[in-house]
Amino acid sequence: MKYLFPRQPWDRALVAILVALFSGFCIFTPGFYDGFHGTLAITEEFLPFGFVALGLSVVILTGGIDLSVGSISGLAAVIMAILIKSYGLNTWLAVLLAIGAGGGLGWLNGQIITRLRVEPLIATLSTNFIYSSIAIALAGASPPYGFGPAFGELGTGALAGWVPVQLVIFIVLAIGFSGLITRTGYGRRLVMIGYNRDAAHYAGVSVASVERRAYCISGIMAAFAGIVLASYYDAVRADMGDILLLTSITMVVLGGISIFGGEGGILGVTLAVMILGVLRQGMLIAGFSDMVTTMLIGAILLSSIAIKNLFSSRGFDLGSIIRRLSSLRPPERMAPRS
């Protein structure tokens, strides 16, 4: 139990928020609490956001951002649907290819960012438009639907009749990502880059290669989320992923991962996934429109960044002072011009 309970103050606060939010909806929103199994079933509604958030965490840990996750989800789902419907490919093979395509699109983001040296924000904003246009063009006027009951199990199935398949996959992936970040050499390099890109470079870390892989991972997770959505709805739409971006970024940032990189962990992100998921579903059941929820999530994103910034200026006293001083120091001069 000692190890299960979060030790970071931020994570503890998230647990408290989650408990309060959940209890609040249970008490004040009739129809929200539908037994233990019903509560588990709610997770199916929001875990696709969580899959995107896991991949996005890796990118944000490097100090980057991926705004193209929504369009990658849509495009991957459309690609899968076309492979199944137009080319008659085996469903699971099509799923694998679509996830691979997501990885490829993420890899392309990484190439643009590291080789062409375009700011991640601009690079992925641009590819977001490019990918989503391609998705719309490929999908055509009447996108395919109906992929069979076996495929539907991914989004709506439940093990033993009550544990949603999505939840099982999410838990496995969250543990996997947590291990990736805290236990592997790749994760260590990722965090080093996020905290201090130059120092990582001087220590022999191939910064560009680590970053490219991060965007690739983000693309894969976005594609997977798109496929889960396709399974859940048993249909695809090119713009299906559009709602993913705001909520997933908020999940990552509320989860305690610093938008400047380096700081944070998957436990917090997982808690934030649950918080925002419960919030979305609770608001929906309570009868609020999607607009209200979106507004609220925007406000949460803003305030979690603001709180984090205010905290960190007090938190790492010495560190931030030294960093500030070091950035004020004039750069070494070049040799005299002759």
Binding site: T184, N196, A203, G204, V205, G262, F316
Partner: protein, 504 residues
């Protein structure tokens, strides 16, 4: 323009930055019609003293007075009010604004009541006049970014005159200038001196100091160690005052002539216009010194050797293997490490733990086939680093940012040394660490060298080079200007080479 400035005097100035005592009971007086030069090693407190006189820093103790009247210089504009102006080491012009706008920054004259308009005509006229008075021929409408560093310094000078300042402090103005530009600057300084201005000057270069100064004060470790007038100039005396503690020179009586094949061999390394034609060898067990002023190209050369910076030509051989085109990771793996000068930016990752920092140079080696890090070995390396370098910390999980500068430097040291390099290039290994930690670092360097590691020490501290090195190469203007070995490694010879005097 003929009224003289008063006598600016600082008495008993103390200044601390955090735990670091920068100035201790420093007294200095700048007389009108004189160029008063401050000399001293990097970190001796010269710039800080000027910044206090210019109202940028506030002293913790002591008084500043002008003609006997105490001044309260709480900010730079208070200093302007008393006619004191500091021309900073890096001219602080706003690059995107015109020269005229820069000169009138903060005091743009306006015309008309409401809405008042900026009086461009007056600005341009006065700015142009001020520059012509200094003999600087630039169009004041031009953007400041088009000016050379030398021109920017003169614009700063004109700015001072426009503000009616008659006490002008130059913080190491000549280090980025060419010889001809230095000549122009000196001509202007002489003219200002002739007009009764008080001039403060900082320089490392002996020839310049003896050429322009009427009076020289030497600072060492935050205290004035000597002050001489024009007739008392003596190179040896000034060097002694700058370096001090002559006893420490004796520490290493035996300079070994290292035998054996060079382990690192650099030929024809070039990256125009920063450095060119750099050839040198280092042998196992040898400590080679790289001396040179900041800006001489020494850091750039080291970074190019270690694959951290582009080079346009030349070869680097490490233990018989060509590593000219290898990646940094491969170079570290092959046994060549560079311990960077700027610890906070390049050396240590402050928010990460001691363990993460100590193992950061060898993540690849700590990875199992699965990619998972071997935690046991990580802990062993971190504990070993803590123990071997006597790092004072709570434990290996403490963030590096909570440690003192000296202890951070030890972690950085340990991080590279635990990769078992054949050659280590140490860039200013004792910069920003206190005297005690300095001694420990010297001891470590000697220990590693005794174990057969080839070590290159880059330093602008004379003392450090004399104490540590078997052989010293002086870099001047991106080229190897002199090489000293054996009995030639003396304070006088290294000092001269360092300032470019031995360049042929």
């Amino acid at each position: 323009m003929s009224r003289t400035s008063g006598l600016l005097a600082a008495a008993g100035i103390d200044k601390r930055f955090g735990a670091n005592s920068v100035l201790r009971n420093v007294s200095l007086s700048l007389a009108p019609g004189e160029v008063h030069t401050l000399m001293g090693e990097n970190g001796a407190g010269k710039s800080t003293l000027f910044r206090i006189l210019a109202g940028i820093h506030q002293p913790d103790a002591g008084q500043i007075s002008l003609d006997g009247a105490a001044l309260d210089l709480r900010n730079p504009s208070a200093a302007y009010g008393h006619g004191i102006y500091l021309v900073p080491q890096e001219p602080a012009l706003l690059k995107e604004l015109s020269v005229a706008e820069n000169m009138f920054l903060g005091m743009l004259p306006t015309r008309g009541r409401f809405p008042s308009r900026i009086d461009w005509k007056t600005i341009r006229g006065q700015a142009q006049d001020a520059l012509s008075a200094l003999g600087l021929d630039v169009d004041v409408r031009d953007d400041a970014k088009h000016l050379s560093i030398a021109q920017q310094q003169l614009v700063e000078c004109a700015k001072a005159l426009l503000r009616g300042c008659r006490i002008i402090l130059f913080d190491e103005p000549t280090s980025p200038l060419t010889g001809r530009e230095v000549g122009i600057l000196f001509a202007i300084m002489r003219r200002l001196r002739g007009q009764g201005c008080t001039l403060g000057f900082i320089s490392h270069r002996m020839e310049e100091v003896s050429e322009i100064s009427d009076r020289v004060s030497v600072l060492r470790d935050g205290a004035v160690t000597d002050e001489v007038g024009r007739d008392g100039f003596d190179r040896a005396r000034l060097v002694r005052a700058m370096v001090g503690r002559e006893v420490i020179f004796d520490r290493r009586r035996v300079r070994r002539e290292a035998q054996g094949e060079p382990v690192l061999s650099v030929r024809g390394l070039a990256h125009a216009p920063v450095f060119s034609g750099v050839d040198f060898d280092v042998r196992p067990g040898e400590i080679l010194g790289f001396s040179g002023l900041i800006g001489s190209g020494r850091t750039e050369i080291a970074e190019a050797v270690c694959g951290l910076r582009a080079k346009s030509g030349g070869s680097v051989m490490l233990a018989g293997r060509d590593i000219s085109t290898s990646s940094i990771g491969d170079i570290i793996e092959a046994g060549l490490v560079y311990v960077p000068e700027d610890r906070a930016r390049h050396g240590v990752i402050l928010p990460m733990s001691i363990r993460d920092n100590a193992t950061a140079g060898q993540i690849g080696r700590l990875q199992r086939k699965s990619g998972i890090l071997n935690r046991g070995r990580e802990i062993a390396i971190a504990n070993d680093t803590m123990h071997r370098y006597q790092v004072r910390a709570r434990g290996i999980d403490q963030p590096a940012g909570q440690l003192s500068g000296g202890n951070q430097q030890k972690i950085v040291f340990g991080k590279w040394m635990s990769t078992n390099p054949k050659v280590a290039i140490l860039d200013e290994p004792t910069r920003g660490v206190d005297v005690g930690a300095k001694d420990e670092i010297y001891r470590l360097i000697e220990e590693l060298s005794a174990q057969g590691m080839a070590i290159v020490v880059i330093s602008s501290e004379l003392e450090e080079l004399i104490v540590l090195c078997d052989r010293v190469i002086a870099i001047y203007g991106g080229k190897i200007a002199a090489e000293l070995k054996g009995a030639d490694v003396t304070a006088a010879r290294v000092g001269a080479a360092f300032l470019g005097a031995e360049a042929h």
